[in-house]
C-alpha cells in the first residue's frame, strides 16, 4: 500500500526576496514551518522579522523566490490565503469611532468568520460589560491590543502570525496570550511568533529561527513543554479543535509533523 502523502507545510519560503523600493526586506529566506508547529522568529530590531510575517500574511509581495501558505500561492489566491491567516501586528487595525464589540464584529464578519465566536472571545480577553461598549478611540494601548487579540481568537484562523505579541500587555494579559497560543497549538493551528526578546515566549515554541539581515541565519530547538499544555480556560472554538479520533491532528499536537530539529544551541545556516 502506498504511503499517505504528507500534507504541505503551513509556511514554505524558498529563496524569498522582498523589497521596499530598492531596500531589501527579505534577502533570500528559506523556511519551512509544518502544520501545527509553533515557531519563534527571533532577531534584533530591523532584522526582517516583521517583514517575514507580513510576507507570510500576503501583505508584502515577493520580488523573487517562492512562497506557499497552507498549500496556497498568495499571489494567485490572495483572498483565500488571507481568510486563513491572522496577523497580530504593531497596529491594532481598529476604528476609533466603533465600540470594542463593533470592531470585533466587523473584523469577524469581514473575514467570513462565525459571529457566534465573538462573545466567547470578548470574555476571554476581559472585554465585557461597559468596556465592550466603549469606543476604541478611548482605549489604552494595552486594551487596544486585547481587542486585536479578541479579533484573532474570534476568527481562529489556521495560521497565527504574532509580531511582538507581548508588547503593551500587562502581566495578566500576557498569561492569557500564552494560554491562547498553547490552545491554538493544541488545536492544530500553526503559530509564528516574532520577538526580539526570546525569553518570554521561548516556552511557547518548539523551535526558534534566527533572522538577521533579512535572512534565516540559524535555528535551534526549544523545550517542547508548553505546546501541549492543557488549558484551564475554555479556549478554542469547538469547530477549530481537531476531532479526538483524527490521528493526523493528534500527530500535529504531539509534534510528529515538526521538522527534524537542528542539533546544538545555534546552527548557522549560512
Amino acid at each position: 500500500m502506498a504511503p499517505a502523502a504528507l500534507p504541505p507545510p503551513a509556511v514554505s519560503l524558498r529563496d524569498a526576496v522582498a523589497l521596499s523600493g530598492r531596500f531589501p526586506l527579505l534577502a533570500g529566506v528559506d523556511l519551512d514551518v509544518a502544520v501545527g508547529e509553533t515557531v519563534l522568529v527571533e532577531g534584533p530590531n530591523g532584522a526582517g522579522k516583521t517583514s517575514l510575517l507580513r510576507v507570510c500574511a500576503g501583505l508584502v509581495p515577493l520580488a523573487s523566490g517562492h512562497l506557499s501558505i497552507l498549500g496556497l500561492d498568495p499571489t494567485r489566491n490572495r483572498v483565500g490565503v488571507r481568510r486563513r491567516v491572522g496577523l497580530l501586528s504593531h497596529a491594532s487595525h481598529l476604528y476609533d469611532d466603533l465600540t470594542v464589540r463593533e470592531n470585533v464584529r466587523f473584523a469577524v464578519r469581514a473575514a467570513g468568520g462565525d459571529v457566534a465566536r465573538i462573545d466567547p472571545a470578548l470574555e476571554r480577553w476581559g472585554l465585557v460589560g461597559r468596556l465592550a461598549k466603549t469606543s476604541a478611540g478611548k482605549l489604552s494601548a494595552g486594551q487596544r491590543r486585547r481587542v486585536a487579540l479578541a479579533v484573532l481568537t474570534a476568527r481562529w484562523p489556521e495560521l497565527w502570525l504574532l509580531d511582538e505579541p507581548h508588547a503593551g500587555l500587562d502581566a495578566s494579559a500576557r498569561l492569557l496570550l500564552d494560554q491562547a497560543v498553547r490552545d491554538a497549538a493544541a488545536s492544530g493551528v500553526t503559530v509564528l511568533i516574532a520577538s526580539h526578546e526570546s525569553g518570554p515566549v521561548e516556552d511557547l515554541a518548539g523551535r526558534a529561527v534566527t533572522v538577521t539581515g533579512g535572512r534565516v541565519t540559524g535555528q535551534r530547538t526549544l523545550a517542547p513543554t508548553a505546546a501541549t499544555a492543557t488549558s484551564p480556560i475554555p479556549a478554542a472554538p469547538t469547530s477549530a479543535v481537531p476531532p479526538a479520533g483524527d490521528p493526523q491532528a493528534v500527530g500535529r499536537v504531539v509534534g510528529q509533523d515538526a521538522p527534524t530539529p537542528v542539533k546544538g544551541p545555534v546552527a548557522h545556516v549560512a
Binding site: R78, G80, F106, A107
Partner: protein, 223 residues
C-alpha cells in the same frame, strides 16, 4: 461582493454617524463656500441666480474632496487598511461599500446645498425631478471616481494635496453635465433639453463604477 459592500457601507456610515464629520464640518464648509460665492458675485439677484447651477456643483465638488479624504483617513489610522486587506474582504465589495457610504453622505450634503442655493441665490427650480436625477447620477459619479482616486492616493504621504489634484479634473464632466441639467431645470425646459447630459452622466457612472470594481483591488495592494 454585495455582502461585503453592505458590510463596509454600514461600517462607514456608522462611523460617520458617531463622528458627524460630514454634518458638522463638510456641510458648513459647503454653505460657507456658497456664501462666499454670493459675496463675490455681488448683490445682483439675477447674476446670482444665473450662476447658481455652476456654483452649486463647484461647492459639491469641494465637499466631495473632503468626504473622500475623510473616507480615506478612516482606513489610514491604526493600520485599519491593512486590517481590511488581511480580512480577505472582496476588493470589489470594499470599493462599492465605500462608494455607497460616500454617496449617501453626498446626497444629504447636496440637499442642504440645494436649499442654500435657493435661499441665497434666489434660484427658481421649475423642473425638480431633473434636479433630483442630476444630483443622483452626479453623486454616483463623484463617489465612484472619488473612492477610486482616494485609494490611489491613500498610501502616499502627500495624499491630502494630491487627491484634489487628481480628482477635480476627472470630475469635470459631472460639473459640466450637472450644471447644464440644472440650467435646463431652472429655465423650465423640456426633459429633452437635459437628456444628452443625463446620458453623459450615466455613461460616466457606468465607466467609473466598472473601472473601480476591477482596479480597486490592485490599487489597494500597491498604494
Amino acid at each position: 461582493m454585495w455582502r461585503d459592500a453592505a458590510l463596509v457601507a454600514g461600517k462607514d456610515l456608522r462611523i460617520e454617524g458617531r463622528s458627524r464629520v460630514a454634518l458638522s464640518q463638510v456641510a458648513p464648509f459647503g454653505i460657507v463656500a456658497l456664501v462666499l460665492f454670493a459675496f463675490a458675485l455681488g448683490p445682483d439677484r439675477e447674476t446670482m441666480a444665473k450662476g447658481a447651477p455652476g456654483l452649486f456643483w463647484v461647492a459639491v465638488l469641494f465637499c466631495t474632496v473632503l468626504a473622500i479624504q475623510r473616507s480615506v483617513s478612516v482606513e489610514s489610522s491604526d493600520g485599519a487598511r491593512d486590517g481590511l486587506r488581511l480580512s480577505g474582504i472582496d476588493p470589489a465589495g470594499l470599493y462599492l461599500g465605500k462608494a455607497v457610504a460616500v454617496a449617501a453622505q453626498l446626497i444629504v450634503l447636496e440637499a442642504l446645498l440645494a436649499v442654500g442655493v435657493v435661499l441665497l441665490y434666489g434660484a427658481h427650480i421649475e423642473v425638480p425631478w431633473m434636479i433630483a436625477v442630476s444630483c443622483l447620477l452626479g453623486t454616483i459619479g463623484l463617489a465612484a471616481t472619488g473612492t477610486l482616486y482616494g485609494a490611489l492616493s491613500s498610501g502616499l504621504r502627500v495624499r491630502e494635496t494630491l487627491l484634489p489634484f487628481l480628482l477635480l479634473p476627472i470630475a469635470a464632466p459631472v460639473l459640466l453635465a450637472g450644471t447644464r441639467i440644472w440650467q435646463a431645470a431652472m429655465a423650465g425646459g423640456t426633459p429633452s433639453d437635459g437628456t444628452q447630459w443625463l446620458r453623459l452622466l450615466v455613461v460616466f457612472d457606468a465607466v467609473y463604477l466598472a473601472v473601480g470594481v476591477v482596479l480597486f483591488g490592485p490599487i489597494q495592494e500597491t498604494a
